[in-house]
Subunit: 352 residues, 2 copies
């Protein structure tokens, strides 16, 4: 039906305009800028219908209309326009993830910086290694001082965990090497989840001297459990939006960004390999009721999974956000392939 089509066109125009200006959109604006062959009165009628359908809200009688969350949902699902990046932007992204020997632990920060830089929103990056997939590669005990050793645990996928241990008695470096070797041999391929048991097993059967130490090592996996690194970047961007010219609101939002639990829960919801958009209450976090969050996950060469969340007002440039996340995904994928280790191309697909 043609009418329906037109309604949606008008709705889209309203959303587009509102995303651009943050100002309630009036019928005249639409009739002038978007639908020049329709009079403002006609638009008015349509808008009235759209309000009744729940797609528009009016702050007050004489203020034009504002898209509702329902409208944003529709917009994201059906009428988002892709915002292809310029060649310069593409090559910029490429160059960011190009370095051959990526410094360990810097990637999250770089992701946050690049993404929030390109979108003007705030970016949260969570890095973690799915526990189930982690299998022991090597265990290395490194003497640090008399009674302290550093246990370095390398998973088969290349992730590294380290934990400082204090021993009851001192132990000679050579003995440590020996133990390292035994452990690495015996535990190779052991899933991280069963490490503890395996260690205790060895402790039982093995000679007296190291038993105590093994017991202590057995405690590692729990403490070192990778509950994720969290990096947030681009907070100052938030304050640039008129919706946060109220300091109170800005503060509330900043506080959420500082609350690790909330951020982790926000990002944990993201499945792998798909870009997800959550609008207002869909975020599941009360304080984000007026925000939207676009998330994507990237699987890295070493088994880690980076989940990226873009946080901005519901009036977000969704097309742009999705494009940037997509291109970053592709760039990461290419970087992985170049290093010939990638187990998949790291490119997220778009979707709800």
């Amino acid at each position: 039906m043609d009418l329906i089509e037109r309604k949606y066109r008008i709705l889209q125009a309203i959303i587009d305009d509102y995303i651009l200006t943050a100002l309630p959109v009036g019928s005249r604006t639409i009739s002038k800028k978007y639908e020049q062959n329709l009079s403002s009165a006609t638009i008015r009628n349509e808008m009235s219908d759209l309000e009744e359908l729940g797609y528009l809200d009016s702050p007050h009688t004489s203020a034009g209309r504002v898209p509702s969350n329902k409208a944003y949902r529709l917009y994201v699902d059906r009428m988002i326009h892709p915002a292809p990046l310029t060649p310069e932007e593409l090559s910029y992204i490429q160059s960011c993830f190009d370095t051959r020997a990526q410094q360990v632990g810097t990637l999250s920060a770089k992701l946050a910086k690049v993404i929030s830089g390109m979108t003007n929103y705030t970016t949260a990056v969570m890095t973690r290694t799915p526990r189930a997939e982690q299998k022991i590669g090597h265990i290395q005990l490194v003497p640090v001082s008399d009674r302290r050793i550093l246990a370095v645990l390398v998973t088969q996928s290349g992730a590294v965990k380290q934990q400082m241990l204090e021993l009851d008695q001192s132990i000679a470096p050579d003995a440590l090497y020996a133990v390292s070797r035994i452990l690495s041999e015996r535990l190779n391929g052991c899933p991280l989840s069963q490490l503890k048991k395996a260690l205790l097993d060895i402790a039982e059967n093995e000679g007296k001297g190291i038993r105590g130490m093994l017991r202590e090592i057995a405690g590692i996996p729990d403490e070192a459990a990778d509950d994720g690194t969290l990096v947030v970047g681009g907070r100052s961007n938030l304050l640039g939006f008129p919706e946060y010219s109220d300091v109170g609101k800005a503060q509330e939002l900043l506080k959420v960004l500082e609350t690790r639990d909330k951020m982790i829960s926000l990002l944990s919801r993201q499945g792998e390999m798909e870009i997800t958009v959550r609008i207002g209450p869909e975020t599941g976090i009360e304080e984000l009721r007026d925000c939207s969050v676009v998330t994507a996950s990237y699987r890295l060469m070493d088994g880690r999974v980076n989940t990226v969340g873009l946080i901005g007002p519901t009036r977000m440039q969704y097309g742009r956000a999705v494009s940037v996340l997509e291109e970053v995904g592709k760039a990461l994928g290419r970087a992985i392939n170049r290093q010939e280790i990638g187990d998949d191309d790291g490119t997220p697909r778009t979707g709800r």
Copy 2:
């Protein structure tokens, strides 16, 4: 001279009051709340003098006075009152740094959280190991995948650097162990600054097979140069201060906090073992012209140095800030002693 003494008392009262209320202080307020045996007229005269001396500014004729940076300087140097923490607060701090086996890398975040939580200011924590003091303890090469190895470098003080390396050819784990052992033996005690040369030396004299690898390893120290970890916490606190009810100012400040270089330079100025207060322009950072920064350094068991900076409006509760930093220092010191490794007690002394 008694007169002088009184002037300073009045100045102190003004500063105290302003720190508390953030409102320009009038003569009546002082006469009522602080100097009940002096009339407001007298106070007025004194205030007029103080303004002439450069200790007070008046925003406009009928608005009371506001302390100048010069006044804060005097305040910090001469009339700061210590703000002893309550027993509960003390034991809270204690408990925060009590954990026996501190997770590697968590300390900065904890410091930032505890300190900004207790002061309501923003905290930046920089961790780094003074390059000059780092001497090689052990080098361990850990096989990760076919051509990738993880080089773990442990300094004598226990700091750990790691770097992923890609090799031109694959190498057997056993060979790696051998190389690790040789390197550890030969390089033990070698200052980090000379590591590169030492490695290249070995590469010259040593067998063909590993030469390439050694060359690559020689590249590590530069890349892995510990230019410091930076953690910032408690940003949302800033927005609670009336001086940042102007979103523009808040944004400017947040942006500085996001600029790694500026933060590093801000914190690098702090010498060891002393609490330093820098007021406004003294911070050396233009955007912080209306902020004060209180910094302290803590030397940790593993040789790392944590420099903590408290950032807030110049109208800062200096006494409180210094007290908290002092107590945190003491708590860290105790934690180090308990672990019987500390090379000093980590307690900063107070001073300009």
